[in-house]
Amino acid sequence: MRIKDSQMAAMRALGRASFEREMTDHARTFSPALAATLGPDLLRAAVRDALLRALEHGFTRKGPQRLFLELSLLFGSGFDADPQYAHMHRILDTPDDQTLRARALHGHVLLYVEHVAGLGGAHVYDALRFLRSLTTQPDPFDGGTTLTEALVAQMTQGFPQRARYAGESALRALVLAGLEEAAKHRFEGARVSALMPVLMFAFGRGCAEDQFYPWIGATLADPRITDPAGRAQRLERKAVTWLDHVLAAEDAA
């Protein structure tokens, strides 16, 4: 039997579609709260995006692809370009076979979960509570000589394990990226400008485009909001809602 190229392409597409469905189901199991928030269509699109991104790193086998998806769920879709996770980038960029890289990445993340996130994610929830407390303060970033310094200091205080893991220069790079993004949306003043760096700290460097957190990008691009200050206020309110929801669920558990 002779199989034409077009038939092979169709078979590959069929295989990919089947795997996407499988991984979408897996995402529901791995991050049930997030999956429920997104709904089936957005979740499927976000999963597809993560799997395509995995391809760019040479992860073509199912195990490595699944790991990449899980890390996207844990650290944000853009974790592979997030300065906070430079250690992971180094593993991704080694010339080793994908299975070896995936194993190394898996081992690294197990250590991260144990030492940075803490047992049951205890350090993470502490950090989220700290961030939530900042939202109640009128000028939480007035303490440093510059806004960047103040943000780095608050991040370090709020999530010291992550700060040690990432390193100060990575946090500074993250803050600068966040302030740049804020400037694009004409967010002015310390509190408003700090919003984007804080969101990136919480949801990852690529949160503005992250399909797992579509409300961030949607609010930033919402054509009905014309006032930058109003947009920032709306975004902060959504973030607080999200934080409250997550922390309430954790407290209930």
Partner: protein, 464 residues
């Protein structure tokens, strides 16, 4: 930073997944198939040479180019196209080309040619796309298609050609530009010669005596550059200018004929360096003078002169009055020749007519039937098919081409090059002179060597 749970090991099957969902099964086969890419025109990172010559009916010059992946790449391919239609890859019908990129990031070669001339610098666009995943544009490059061409007397050179021509010292070459976008500017990029004009479609370049290499550039307003490189060679073709120096009284047509004849045969007879040429032309100049005209030996003697220099007439004095030039009649030159050269130098008796028929002729005054035959044998051996037969037609030796060929053949047959190679001292000149004409003190030959031929060939600057 939400729920933090350990990720699944990459080797484990997915919990709740299908039974055949092996973790190491491939999902699809296109890893790294669309990497970032880099392209270089003319195989260099510089953009100043990103040009290709416009094709013409006879020729389609190509320019080597290369492309590579600059991020992780596996089985990646690049599709190159040129939306403005000025380029081909590189055949006339090849409007696109697909290049496989080496996985290790090394370069892959391709080539372009010019289909339609540029209207402005860099207006030919190369688009590089992946062949998969929606064919995203990965990189671009711009090229100028140059209509500019430069023609010399012997060559046509286009941009990106690596033309290298030979040029004799002080030889002049006319360079004519065509197809340029806007005005053409000429410049000497290397060398000490002179240009007749530095702007305009035509210029004349004259190589300087002391330079070894000359590089002339023609630039048009699109930035197209034609580079003509000359190896200035002391021992290359004889130039008309130099022939005029050797024979200052020769008319132009004779200068041209001497130049052409020498250049036709000099390699065969190994007159390939300035020392040999200086010796050769010192002898020729002595024999034929500044007019450069190869002559037949004159026999226009008076009776007293016949008696003085020829033993035949001393033995037969009555015939001197009969054949010699007097007030009453002209000299009977054939009769004189037949008598004074009868039974000598391979000639027959008086009745044979050989004496007159094979009297001295040409640039080195070849004399006697035996010598004519020996030289003809040399010609036939070294330059068969030359069309010269001085035995059957001795007057070919006083034609420029036949005379030059027979002089060179004489030179070769008598190993004059070996003698010339000894040097340029008086004794060396005399040694060569003895081969050509053993009689006399050779003072004139030394003088012609010192004052005429050695300076003409810049012997002090390029002795070999």
């Amino acid at each position: 930073m939400t729920r933090v749970v350990p990720p699944t090991a990459p080797d484990e099957p997915t919990a709740g997944g299908p039974a055949d969902a092996l973790a190491d099964a491939p999902v699809q086969s296109c890893p790294y198939c669309c990497p970032a890419m880099e392209i270089e025109i003319n195989d260099t990172a510089a953009t100043t040479d990103d040009m290709v010559a416009l094709h013409d009916n006879a020729d389609r010059p190509t320019v080597p180019c290369r492309i590579r992946a600059i991020s992780r790449s596996v089985n990646a391919k690049a599709e190159l196209s040129n939306p403005d239609g000025r380029l081909r890859f590189p055949g006339a019908g090849q409007e696109t080309v697909t290049v496989s990129l080496p996985d290790d990031g090394s370069w892959a070669a391709f080539a372009i040619s010019g289909e339609m001339a540029s209207a402005a610098a860099g207006d030919a666009l190369i688009e590089v796309r992946c062949t998969k995943q929606g064919r995203p544009l990965k990189t671009t490059a711009v090229v100028t298609v140059c209509g500019l061409r430069v023609t010399t007397e012997t060559e046509q050179i286009v941009p990106t050609d690596r033309a290298r021509l030979r040029l004799g010292v002080e030889e002049r070459v006319t360079l004519t530009a065509s197809g340029a976008l806007g005005a053409v500017r000429w410049q000497i990029a290397e060398g000490d010669g002179t240009l007749s004009d530095e702007a305009g479609p035509r210029t004349v370049y004259q190589a300087h005596a002391l330079e070894q290499t000359a590089r002339i550039e023609a630039l048009d307003q699109a930035g197209c550059t034609v580079i003509v490189t000359f190896d200035v060679d002391c021992n290359y073709l004889l130039s008309r200018a130099r022939t005029s120096t050797l024979f200052p009284n020769a008319p132009d047509d004779r200068v041209n004929a001497i130049t052409d004849a020498f250049n036709e045969f000099y390699e065969t007879y190994e007159l390939t360096d300035c020392l040999r040429r200086s010796h050769f032309f010192a002898q020729v100049r002595t024999e034929v003078g500044g007019s450069g005209e190869p002559r037949r030996e004159g026999m226009n003697y008076t009776p007293p002169r016949l008696l003085e220099i020829f033993s035949y007439y001393r033995r037969n004095p009555a015939e001197a009055d009969l054949h010699g030039r007097t007030a009453a009649h002209a000299a009977n030159q054939p009769a004189i020749g037949n008598r004074v050269y009868a039974n000598r130098l391979g000639n027959g008796d008086i009745a044979s007519g050989d004496g007159s028929g094979y009297r001295g002729r040409g640039f080195l005054q070849l004399t006697g039937r035996a010598n004519y035959q020996a030289i003809q044998n040399e010609i036939d051996a070294n330059t068969p098919g030359s069309g010269v037969d001085i035995v059957a037609n001795p007057d070919q030796a006083i034609e420029i081409r036949g005379g030059m060929l027979s002089a060179m053949a004489f030179w070769s047959r008598n190993n004059a090059n070996n003698q010339a190679d000894d040097g340029s001292a008086n004794a060396d000149i005399d040694g060569v002179s003895n081969i050509v004409n053993r009689w006399g003190d050779h003072a004139e030959r030394r003088q012609n060597f010192r004052n005429v031929s050695a300076p003409a060939f810049h012997l002090d600057d390029c002795p070999r």
